[in-house]
Amino acid sequence: MLKNYLKIGWRNLMKDKTFTALNVIGLSVASGIAILLSMAAFFDLSFDKFHEKGDRIYQVYWTEQTPRGPEAGTSLPAPFADALKTEVPGVESITRFLEAEALTTYGDTEINLDAVWVDADFFEMFTFPVLKGKKNDVLQNKSSVVITEQTAEKLFGDTEAIGQIVNIRIGSEDLPFTVAAVTADNQAQNSLDFEMAIPFENTLSYTERMKTWGSIYHDVYVQLQPGVDAKQFERNTRSFVSLHYKEDIENLKRDGAMANADGLFRQLGLLLLENVHYTSFKKGYAEISRAIPYLILGVAFLILLIACVNFINMNIAKSSQRLREIGMRKTLGATKKHLFFQFWSESLFIFIASIGFGVLLSALFIDDFKTMFRSAISMDILTSPLVIFGSLVFVCLITLVVGGYPALLLSRLGTIQSLKGKLESSGGNRVRNALMILQFGIAILLMSGTLVLWGQVDFMRNKDLGFDKNQVLSFPLDGKKNNYEAVKLLRDELAGNPDILSVTASDNNLGRGKDGSQSTSVWGVEYKGRGIRTNALTVDYGYLETLGLELVLGRSFDMDYAGDTQSVIINESMARQLGETDPLTAFFPVSDSLHYPVIGVVKDYNFQDISKAIEPLTIFLNNESGLSYAFIKVAPMNMANSFGAVETAWKKIEPNSEFLGSFLDENIDNTFQREKMMATMITSGSIIAIALSCIGLFAMSLLIVSQRTKEIGVRKVLGASVASITVLLTKDFLKLVLVSFFIASPIAYWLLRQWLENYTYRINLGMWFFVAAGLLALIIALLTVGIRTVSAAMQNPVKSLRTE
């Protein structure tokens, strides 16, 4: 029986090859894309799930009610972890966690390793299996380190790693450490990845920092005892907080902060390990958002939906040609069940074949996909039994709906009626129209998303940031020399080169350079009896000039004034915050007794991500330490040569350090990597969606034209022109596109407005985005349908009438 079904199914497919090809290609492409996209999404969704005790491990974060509104963060002071463990019951293990590079030397090898500085509990809490060396308490000894297999390979090659002694630069000293254990390499979905783990006690100026609660610089992870409820624990920390942050809380009250709903000014919160990767503290509370992976899944689903709609529509339309078969089968004793099963098995057959092709396609394009979207997915995901089982169930469900609906329609037809070959189905058309509206709605939604996303990316790329990003390059000063010295040497080295205009340095990069790091340091100080908060930047001479920052008032740092190392330059926002009529009379309180005068005010510039509003900034000058990035302004000519010259100079000064230079415009581009990735993804999604919708539309136009051949013939005999017939045939489709435009644009508008809210500097969400998307859809639909209808309209009517 099944053989018979498949045979007739196959022959039906072969009879109309265009149709079959359109159907199979559409489904294959859609399933291929959907496979890739959902792999990427599931990859993104399964971060940090491999820790055995993960359900009890939390990251500690704080929230504070300030006069400017709530603020939140994860940075905590060094004595915090011990105090929390001893003073609040319920903690099983706790570890401090600081990510900072460690310049490691072994013999002649000198590498900057991504190190984590953690407490001994770290390896008890997290599941990083030790392959070689000490199994338990690996970091108990203060001078031992743990490295990954890859690091061992980098440092020691084939030599046994355990017991080797490496030197790690801490501050200005090289300290010896013994390799105690080697762990497996980091898994891809791990947000705590490291190349080397070092006991936390070794961090720079640890002893001083242990004495104060004011210096916050690292994260804390805590593992609760079994059965301890996180919410309850958070409540239990209230007295702990009011004890240790007494002074802060009083200051907040004095400055006029409003307590939160619980009547508290400062609170501790716990964030489940699984959520850490998806949390942002931007808005003053822990916001857990998995929006991007879900968005990607959504796009995958929409694409699949479009392909399925095609399938349903084509199947229903096609089935009118098989009415006689259905009728005959009924007279020969087929029941509804038989017919349903027959048509469903045909769909299943096509689906399985298409998904097979889809898997093939995705395997073919996975590498391109990975580079395009910077995803670390691999086809291995597809071989896990859960995924195989899940997708089987999914396919069965989809075919049940997609293949089942036409099958149900067909199996319900009356025998006599179907034998006559006539289908009285205004209802079927309504479903078909609704589905096509849905399809085009999705396409318009994705297209307007594409336009707006690219608009925003373009806007951010071209926005005047207030500094010169095209002619300035920056690179991290990560060598062994004192960085101030290094800058001086660099300046001397490049002095003779006419293309190098100036050299300077600061403790922070602009944008995100090749080292991938981006940070800001925030100071909270008391100014004339109220608390103020400012970002702090330490620079070298010539910083303002090199970056082309515009001075509004006062002067820049100048080598001729000896006192400038004890003065500051502020930006306009900071000036507003200080609230002085003449900002140059203001001062910056470094400590109770030490006040730095303000010598200049620079125009506000975007020193942080463009998505953020410009915050207050205070610029310090320091001529001894604190510089981490060099900035070099080059002439607009020969920029590649100048770049090479800088690299050579740096290699000469620090032969062992890698040169990670990049121009600031690249750095800025890097900060909206996410937006660019999203834009690319939505663009590809919308192109696919449009292509698939067009396939569907094309197939429908083929069918409708063939069904109306007689009508066209009669009309032409009665004197209709080619144009009027084309209009007649095209009109119906265009109506559908218009309806979908009116449904989709408000939804798109609402979604995109929500998204743009995340950006302080954003484009205007004008009507033209949607009109453009709608027009584009209309034109594409017109072209798709037009080809077929014009040729149908031009046919000799005698011929079309004869075929009836």
Partner: protein, 220 residues
């Protein structure tokens, strides 16, 4: 008695009025009869055949088939009944274009859930009997009209029905092909199969042992 129709009415509503397709039809058919139904277009010949074949419902009256009251049976029982006892032959043959001659013949047997070997034997038997063994792998479109109708008759016969209903079986055929088909019907009738045919042609009607004339849904 094979079947009995008592006061059968069938109508459709058209603009608030009943238009009768069948009006008070009474008919008794014994096994082994060969009946020709005659009448002009629209007189209700096909409708009557469809009602007898249980493909179509009627609105009033009683219909007994082999002592089973068809008007009281559920859809499923009715389907089983006609599947087992009735074979259909159509003017337009209604062979399935995508299946070969062999597969077309096999199809009714599939719905009767017969075993593969049995099906093979029965199809081979039928091909042999109608002399179309050489054409078994051809598709319907590769055959002439007469040959297609031959396959149509063979398909109707394959499940060994007691009754064959033929709706204008020769309507699409030329005179030579049509007399061949009619000869075949006569032969089948001689073997004991009951046949009811609807036809326009006096000549074909003459093959029947009894002729029923219909006009506007009424027996005359």
């Amino acid at each position: 008695m094979l079947l009995q129709l008592n006061g059968i009415f069938k109508w459709v509503q058209q603009g608030g009025q009943r238009v009768f397709l069948l009006k008070d039809i009474n008919l008794e058919v014994e096994e082994g009869e060969f009946i020709s139904i005659m009448g002009p277009s629209g007189s209700g010949k096909s409708t009557l055949l469809n009602v007898i074949g249980m493909l179509d419902d009627f609105d009033e009256g009683e219909y007994n088939f082999l002592d089973e009251p068809v008007h009281q049976l559920k859809e499923k029982h009715r389907a089983n009944l006609y599947k087992q006892y009735i074979g259909f032959v159509f003017q337009a043959y209604h062979l399935i274009d995508e299946l070969t001659v062999y597969e077309n013949l096999e199809m009714p047997l599939l719905y009767k859930k017969l075993k593969g070997s049995d099906r093979k034997a029965m199809v081979a038997d039928m091909l042999d009997r109608f002399g179309i063994v050489g054409k078994k792998d051809l598709f319907p479109t590769q055959l002439s009209g007469g040959q297609q109708q031959l396959v149509g008759v063979a398909r109707a016969l394959i499940s060994k029905p007691k009754l064959i209903l033929a709706d204008e079986p020769t309507g699409n055929l030329n005179s030579k092909q049509s007399s061949e088909i009619m000869a075949l019907f006569k032969e089948l009738n001689d073997d004991g199969v009951t046949i009811i045919q609807a036809t326009h042609s006096e000549q074909n009607a003459a093959y029947g042992k009894r002729i029923i004339n219909l006009l506007d849904g009424r027996k005359v």
